[in-house]
Amino acid sequence: MTVPDDLASIRSDDDEPAFAAPWEATAFALKAHLVATGVLDAAAFATLLGEEMRKDHAAQDEGTAYFVAYVTALERAIATIAPPERLAAEQAAWRAAAEATPHGAPIVLDRCRDKA
């Protein structure tokens, strides 16, 4: 293994906020909540997070690459509760809700679609 020598360049971050974007804070709290309530196994999540962190996810959406890996690990960790196709449908619902919401208003999910 080669030892990186760029550590000094990344350590001066004392003033950075803990979360780069609100979705990061929510993802972090979701994981903490699921572990605290026994839904998620901490060691299993750590293994998945380790795997995702080695995949070099790109930073995006004003967030950090670390939390992209974090969210991906979380999606994998709860796959038995919420399979990928269920998550994809929910994501589509959120996109549709955003498009139907006037700019500046809070975006809410319309559960009526489930009754259709």
Binding site: V3, P4, I10, W23, A27, V71, L87, E90, Q91, A100
Partner: protein, 205 residues
């Protein structure tokens, strides 16, 4: 940032993915929205290295407390009102002139949140995770710290179940200081083992 000027709202891809996770889990009853909000607020504002600093300052000023802390860190930390919510086991590591302790998580980013809040970026970076194990003295040099040759450096690899808090040595020139004044010089890095507290830190605050 989005550059379209449509009159509807826009959610970023990551925002959508996290909202979907949250709403599916809420719908299935695995997430209590109020408890989740409370956690977000807690980690954003209330939990930070100041908690760990109070633990260290208490250990410096109260030898009975220090004995309890090194014997069983979890209950001793809980005495000050801080507790991990995920059942992780805490161990307090005592720095001495002979041994300096440094903490890393080589697998991912396991970190003692209850006492230190959220990990800094460098703690999560491959550069630190690899180098802390391969060359701890080099890491200390990167952080501007040099220890006597005779001091042994012990690196502790955190796991989901086991988290470590380094208790640095009380610096010279702090005799008679209050617990509060002492807590103010205990830095986050000194509790990870990549820094040392200094008496003159107080002047800078």
């Amino acid at each position: 940032m989005s550059t379209d000027h449509a009159d509807h709202s826009h959610l970023s891809d990551m925002d959508v993915r996290v909202r979907a996770l949250q709403s599916v889990l809420e719908e299935k009853g695995f997430v209590d929205p109020a408890a989740l909000d409370e956690l977000v607020t807690l980690y954003e504002h209330e939990v930070g290295p100041q908690n760990g600093a109070r633990v260290v300052a208490r250990a410096w000023t109260d030898s009975d407390y220090a004995a309890r802390l090194f014997a069983s860190a979890g209950p001793a930390i809980a005495e000050l009102g801080y507790s991990g919510r995920q059942g992780e086991h805490m161990v307090a590591l005592q720095n001495t002139p002979e041994t300096h302790n440094m903490v890393v998580c080589t697998l991912c980013s396991c970190y003692p949140w209850a006492v230190l809040g959220l990990p800094p970026t460098w703690y999560k970076a491959p550069a630190y995770r690899a180098k802390a194990v391969a060359d701890p003295r080099g890491v200390l040099a990167d952080f501007g710290v040099s220890l006597p040759e005779a001091t042994k450096i012990r690196v502790w690899d955190s796991t989901a179940e086991m988290r470590y808090l380094v208790v640095p040595m009380r610096p010279e020139g702090t005799d008679g200081w209050s617990e509060e004044a002492l807590a103010a010089i205990v830095t986050r890095d000194s509790m990870i083992g990549t820094g040392l507290p200094h008496a003159d830190e107080a002047a800078a605050r």
